[in-house]
Symmetry: D2
Subunit: 330 residues, 4 copies
Amino acid sequence: MLQATPQEDKTRDDGQKKASLDAWVTHYQSYAAKGQNASYIPALEHINSSQLGICIAEPNGTIIHSGDWEVPFTLQSISKVISFMAACLGCGISYVLERVDVEPTGDAFNSITRLEMHKPGKPFNPMINAGAITVSSLLPGKSPQQKLEVLYSLIEKLIGKRPTINEEVFQSEWKTAHRNRALAHYLKETGFLESEVEEALEVYLKQCSIEVNTKDIALIGLVLALDGYHPIRKEQILPKEIARLTKALMLTCGMYNASGKFAAFVGVPAKSGVSGGIMALAPSSTRRVLPLQGEFGIGIYGPAIDEYGNSLAGGMLLQQIAQEWDLNIF
Amino acid sequence: MLQATPQEDKTRDDGQKKASLDAWVTHYQSYAAKGQNASYIPALEHINSSQLGICIAEPNGTIIHSGDWEVPFTLQSISKVISFMAACLGCGISYVLERVDVEPTGDAFNSITRLEMHKPGKPFNPMINAGAITVSSLLPGKSPQQKLEVLYSLIEKLIGKRPTINEEVFQSEWKTAHRNRALAHYLKETGFLESEVEEALEVYLKQCSIEVNTKDIALIGLVLALDGYHPIRKEQILPKEIARLTKALMLTCGMYNASGKFAAFVGVPAKSGVSGGIMALAPSSTRRVLPLQGEFGIGIYGPAIDEYGNSLAGGMLLQQIAQEWDLNIF
Amino acid sequence: MLQATPQEDKTRDDGQKKASLDAWVTHYQSYAAKGQNASYIPALEHINSSQLGICIAEPNGTIIHSGDWEVPFTLQSISKVISFMAACLGCGISYVLERVDVEPTGDAFNSITRLEMHKPGKPFNPMINAGAITVSSLLPGKSPQQKLEVLYSLIEKLIGKRPTINEEVFQSEWKTAHRNRALAHYLKETGFLESEVEEALEVYLKQCSIEVNTKDIALIGLVLALDGYHPIRKEQILPKEIARLTKALMLTCGMYNASGKFAAFVGVPAKSGVSGGIMALAPSSTRRVLPLQGEFGIGIYGPAIDEYGNSLAGGMLLQQIAQEWDLNIF
Amino acid sequence: MLQATPQEDKTRDDGQKKASLDAWVTHYQSYAAKGQNASYIPALEHINSSQLGICIAEPNGTIIHSGDWEVPFTLQSISKVISFMAACLGCGISYVLERVDVEPTGDAFNSITRLEMHKPGKPFNPMINAGAITVSSLLPGKSPQQKLEVLYSLIEKLIGKRPTINEEVFQSEWKTAHRNRALAHYLKETGFLESEVEEALEVYLKQCSIEVNTKDIALIGLVLALDGYHPIRKEQILPKEIARLTKALMLTCGMYNASGKFAAFVGVPAKSGVSGGIMALAPSSTRRVLPLQGEFGIGIYGPAIDEYGNSLAGGMLLQQIAQEWDLNIF
């Protein structure tokens, strides 16, 4: 672990890492022009698409950042990871997995076909919308407010501050969420949804509208990297089993229909959102050389997304880091 | 690495590991009764379904085994891993990936639907039959014999002996391979198959019929664990890039439609075949305690398979080992 | 036409027809036990499933009936025919067909898969739920009430009395219509639905809950048989083009997933509903011998339905009549 | 029937009908430019795509023709109708329908997806390739030659001459029939195919390559129109049941994925082939006015096909005739 490294070296290392990040951010920012902001959520369309930022959170509290790391953005699909953890914490892993499987699909994130094709219509994993809406309905609490409170509490524990909703984004999604409503009604009919449709959607769309920055998601990534242990709070926030299950899901299903390609060519657990965020993490590794041998969390933001829904420049930046610093878990 | 461990300890450790394996094999053998031998390949139906064996191969040459570890069985789908490596070695990764993607699907291993649904019909990954037959057609060589020779050479390098075909199994598969022929003709029409249909099928079905035992596949797993380095030959057999890509594919797509569940609850790259074999591996890890901290390969054989096509007792045995020895890569 | 037949013969014929119907109804009633009432609409579950009734309406006003012909039942999917005619009357055929195709599918009536598989998601025909909900949204009028009024007016013209809604059935469907809501939201997202989702569903589910008896639907069948001409009102209610288009749709898509089999073995345009009603009709034919050479309408009711959703005894009764009286249009 | 018409009138009528056909052929020939010859069968690509011809065969032996009516073309999918009749004649309707259903699908003619989606994979109807290949395998006979002989005999009875194969087209199809081979192997695996794959394909592709002209298929249409009675041979060639079943299949499934639209807007049983042929027929009708009140057969040829696979100009010509002469059966 890094604590063994002498302090001088550490500071020098931090500067070196920061310099690398700065160079890569500058380089990959130019690629953002090839992507486009998500258009199906009206409020996301008008954001400056050339932004790119990154933040790295280390177990000793060091935060290294570069570019537009402080720009707030909404979690969108990254929230699926957090609500899954919250549901497992609240109901137990086996209860959750009776209602949502953990198999990747190769289908679009908002696909409804598989629910009909594979009786009895159990969602294949919590990283596609059908599974995520189901998971939101499982959160403890009798009302959307209570369910969201469970989520907010977990996030507050993870990032050290109470999250806020971007109301404009929420309203924008709420009004146009016909595909998600179709999914939720389908799940209600097949019995996988545990709350009323509109309540599940309120929870789901509000969790998608939670505003964060790259440091926030880097911290969540760090806790996952440490198997649920929060190094600053010095507290085990999640059982190891939930943390590992979550990381496996991020690797197999986290990057939409490019999840397989990310696993193959980047090789770290990561979850993206159409707002351009990517939450990733690096496990500890003996084979890695300096600068970063231990676990750390990674938060990236770049709102221009590619055909799969992943931040275009952000994905390239993550791949560069994984290669340069040898983060690939395989 | 284990070489730092004093010799006495090592021997004691080996005995301890062997004792654990023996106990687990005895325990899980009783579960085999809940599975059934693969029935769609006639020659596999009549094998003693209560068999269970395991072999572990360590970088220092230590081989630890238990149960029916020496029983020969045919590679079946495990061969998909080897032909993928051979094709990447022969044609380059990018050439191969232009003809087969690396995305998990959630569909049955012999499904044809996705080829029609997702134009232009590129197979989603090399671990499903459509992708594997495509890969077999890409192997260097102008005839099935030449293509198979490429495969045999790679296997010989990996396991130290020239592989043999189980002719009875091959004939049995060859005569009943209508679904695979359907896939191959479909791929020929869409242009992804690079050889004639019957030639691709000859290569594919012969590679499926290669006979091995658990030690053989444990050795291949070991080389993958070491990123392509063969510790006994002291030679880099595969470039690191191919080894890692292969391991990522094993984790995301290697255990048929239970791949996601294996990633979630076992957490090691593994590939199964309907003959009951599982080839797996453990990477190096700082967090693991004794007995096995460094990389090693795992070969398992248990012919009774579950609803997904994976060795029933073998899968349970692998999960037990992964939990007890903390092999989960997440 | 039958008016040329001398009165005595006619009366004798009517008696003969009635005797045949009575015998067949008695015979096929016993088959009802093999079917089951529709269970997905709670209010339909508790109806006496052994009922069977039929009514035939001739152009000269003669009504011949047998069995439980007077029992009121709800239109359910039979209403799809009427709303399609009303939409074509109100908006023109081409406007309607830009939003719903006229192709049979082979899929379940409530399937959603094809909307996703075939971009841009235009419903394949107005006899499956996706198409019928779309059609309901096209009815002239700014509110559900206005749209329903258009429908009620047409029905009043056709059957001579203002229809009423079975409120219990409507409430039962309204509360459990999750699959239909899924379809409607999907159609809203793809842009085929022209009103708000809840409004379209109110229209659709109320039209399904309109209460009729076999005489009512026999009259509608008669008007269709006469290419839109109402022989009692002596008025062309529908243009010939709409009537023929509607009859073609009934033949190709009217009997759920047994439509092809009905076309093949019964051979008359017919539309069924899960409440057990079948609205059918016989065209004029030179080849037919007595008793019925000219056009007539047929209404059947038998609440026990088969695996496809069609009245089990009712379908058998219709096939018997079509064979005995040589009604097959082919 | 027309024999009641005085001879002078008849001759005058025939002239009038011929004049109408000539005018329409001239008019619709210009539309051929919007279509394209089938490209997936190499031998069809180079045919003059501006051809258009029609032939009408009446029960009294009158043949009226216009345009390129004598140009030979291959049956292609029109042969599906004939092999279906031959299989029903040879094995009985119920035997055939145990192996192929009579439901329209809405899927592409060469689709394989539904075989996998709907267990146990029974082809939905004999007008799509999966069903037609199955039907070809059911023809009586132990070899392709014997099965084809059954087909040739039926055709000889129908058109009065022994059919010949266009060897160039057959060879062209045989070499490129990968999709059909995929279908056939799939059907072999699921057990619906009753002969060896290559034998079934030889029969199927040879029947597709049978050369006819518009008069030949008009004669077949005429026999179907007369419920299986051959008016020139004065012989019942097919039982009425087979003829009607066949006509129902033509109407619901005969025009590829435009079958529903043809039923809706043309309204006569018709079967097309990608070579540009359309075999259609008109039943007897009391409502029709002169010139053609009784049954007749229609043969059309126009090699430029539309997006669905139907002769573009030929389909328009058929629609014109159906409207002008009021042939719509609804």
